[in-house]
């Protein structure tokens, strides 16, 4: 592993052997060096070119590179006290920055792709893994473009992982979007959307090139700059699942655009809000949407300790055979060898109590011996052609809506462990409220 020095102001031999003879561009340094090398980028590095730039780290999966901004007047090789965040790598005009296939960790570096009335931006592509720590990714061009910032491979039969840690994104046009392919992780980033120009929709799939499926996970990211009139997630023809946990949202922001089919865009929101709450949990699917309700709630039902809650399920295109499935409810079970009855209370405005083909629950429990194979039980229809029957009515007290009902399943666990309840809503264009506090008897 060699130490390679990069500083745009260097005037020496350009070998990268020390600060005096540093490479003046990151691209030249990458091209000349090898997997596992450490690239130390000076805090006053300001690399600019008015042509397309391709940065392909030579790192491999087993030997990734480190590309770190440091104080060139500090220790050699640099130490913790030398870390800086001021190096910049910029393309101007209609020219993008492309991060080619490779494996690298970037820290403290600003990448700015394109400028002026252009749609050029930043594209990180190819088979590989890139981590951006305390970086800034900017697409200043004022001509809006879907996927102007594109992270992760967009070629078929490739794998990629992109992680943003304390790394902000910034756009030059409201029509700009961020496309993430493969596995994408974004964590621990205050004020994650920088700048005054805010995209109307933040995440989309690729506009032109192939979009690659994968999972995107956001945790501890402040997205509050995007408020009313903005949408966080959109998708067209590609499967993409976003898991968003403990993030700050903008007031009245739209979480998910209209979802066009099963397996397309999927969004799970876990404890994210614009206000001072700790209970807002939502799930967006083609079949329906689940949000947290604080008014139409069951007396004695689920609560965060202060605010009572229920789950509001609004079905869209659900069917009995492809129903909307709520976030799972998991409880710990200590009973072995004896029946356990699990009851979920609900209410809706559909007149009579719904049938068990309209809404039901599946229960997965540990009912085997010799191995932990889960067993499923249901209060739903016995088979696909079963006409279904009315659920039991309930006498619980709720804060709204009209017709109370309850769903019960009895199981006999053979092991201690978790029991997971999946409430499924099949009746299209309906609104149900259920209490996620399971009654166990």
């Amino acid at each position: 592993m060699a130490n390679v020095y990069v500083r745009s102001a260097a005037t020496g031999a350009g070998t990268g052997a020390d600060w005096a003879n540093a490479y003046t561009t990151l691209a030249a340094a990458f091209a000349a060096k090898a997997a596992g090398d450490d690239f130390w980028v000076s805090e006053d590095h300001a690399e600019t070119q008015a042509s397309a730039m391709t940065l392909t780290p030579p790192g491999t999966a087993a030997s990734p590179n480190r590309v770190i901004c440091v104080n060139h007047a500090g220790s050699v090789p640099p130490v913790s006290a030398d870390l800086r965040t001021t190096a910049t790598v910029t393309t101007t005009g209609a020219f993008a920055i492309t991060l080619g296939a490779g494996y690298a960790y970037f820290r403290g570096i600003t990448l700015s792709g394109g400028s002026g009335a252009v749609p050029a931006g930043i594209s990180a592509s190819g088979d590989g893994a890139l981590v951006f720590d305390t970086c800034k990714l900017i697409t200043p061009g004022t001509t809006g473009a879907s996927s102007k910032m594109r992270l992760g491979t967009f070629a078929a039969a490739q794998k990629s992982k992109t992680e943003l840690r304390n790394t902000t994104v910034q756009f030059g046009a409201t029509a700009d979007t961020l496309t993430v392919n493969g596995d994408f992780i974004w964590k621990n980033t205050p004020n994650a959307i920088a700048g005054a120009t805010l995209p109307t929709t933040l995440f989309t799939t690729n506009a032109v090139s192939t979009s690659i499926t994968g999972v995107a996970f956001l945790e501890g990211v402040d997205l509050s700059a995007l408020a009313s009139g903005k949408t966080l997630f959109s998708s067209t023809g590609t499967s993409k699942r976003y898991m968003v946990k403990d993030c700050k949202l903008g007031a009245s922001v739209t979480i998910s655009a209209t979802i066009t089919g099963q397996g397309g865009l999927e969004v799970d929101l876990i404890n994210c809000d614009s206000g001072d709450t700790n209970y807002r949990t939502e799930r967006y699917r083609y079949e329906g949407t689940q949000t947290t309700e604080t008014t139409i709630v069951r007396t004695g039902g689920a609560s965060d300790g202060t605010t009572p809650i229920s789950w509001k399920i609004v079905t869209g295109n659900s069917t009995r055979y492809m129903p909307y499935e709520c976030l799972p409810i998991t409880i710990w079970n200590e009973t072995v060898g004896n029946p356990v009855t699990l009851t979920v209370e609900g209410i809706w405005g559909g007149g009579a109590v719904p049938n068990n083909s309209d809404i039901w629950m599946d229960v997965e429990y540990l009912g085997t011996s010799g191995f932990p194979l889960g067993i499923f039980a249901t209060n739903g229809p016995a088979d696909p052609l079963d006409a279904g029957s009315a659920l039991a009515s309930s006498s619980e007290t709720w804060g709204g809506s009209t017709t109370k009902f309850k769903m019960s399943v009895t199981v006999t666990p053979t092991k201690k462990g978790p029991i997971t309840i999946y409430v499924k809503a099949a009746l299209a264009s309906s609104t149900f409220y259920i209490d996620p506090k399971v009654v166990v008897s």
Partner: protein
């Protein structure tokens, strides 16, 4: 106009003063799109309804164009495209931009599709003269059509 009606179907005030809003937007085919969000207490719900209808309109158009381009880059002149929510001109314009940066098989397939257009359509899509269209056909589109034919007929051993 793709979205022909928009209504607030559900509006439930929450304990903290915010409102749980469900909007229904219906397009010219009768398809209902639900927009569900949590609104701040003093928000102008009707303005938000209109704004989302406009956004949804644009999204439907863009989604159709993207789907069409995806089909063209895969199937070339055999692509099945639709113009339910977008116009032919919008699609040609987007395809022009896609062709500008396309490479390898995608470039061949887009070229193959463009070769199936009339000269008049190409003149409009590319803002070209007839002479320039002739050159484009000779240098790019006709070779792409031949290459696409070869690709489609190629099978493994």
């Amino acid at each position: 106009m793709t979205i022909i009606s928009s209504v607030i179907a559900d509006n439930v005030i929450q304990r903290d003063g915010r409102r749980s809003i469900v909007e229904h937007h219906t397009d010219q085919l009768g398809i209902v799109y639900r927009h569900i969000y949590l609104s701040v207490g003093n928000a102008n719900l009707n303005a938000a309804l209109a704004a989302y209808a406009a956004q949804l309109d644009a999204d439907l158009t863009n989604n159709e164009i993207q789907a069409n381009i995806g089909n063209v880059t895969r199937d070339g002149s055999l692509a099945v495209t639709s113009t339910i929510y977008s116009t032919g001109a919008q699609n040609f314009s987007a395809l022009r931009e896609a062709y500008r940066t396309a490479a390898r098989v995608e470039a061949i397939m887009i070229g193959d599709f463009l070769s199936s257009l009339t000269d008049a359509q190409l003149r409009t899509a590319f803002s070209m003269t007839q002479a320039e269209v002739n050159t484009l056909r000779t240098n790019k589109l006709t070779p792409s059509a031949s290459a696409a034919t070869t690709i489609r007929s190629t099978v493994g051993a």
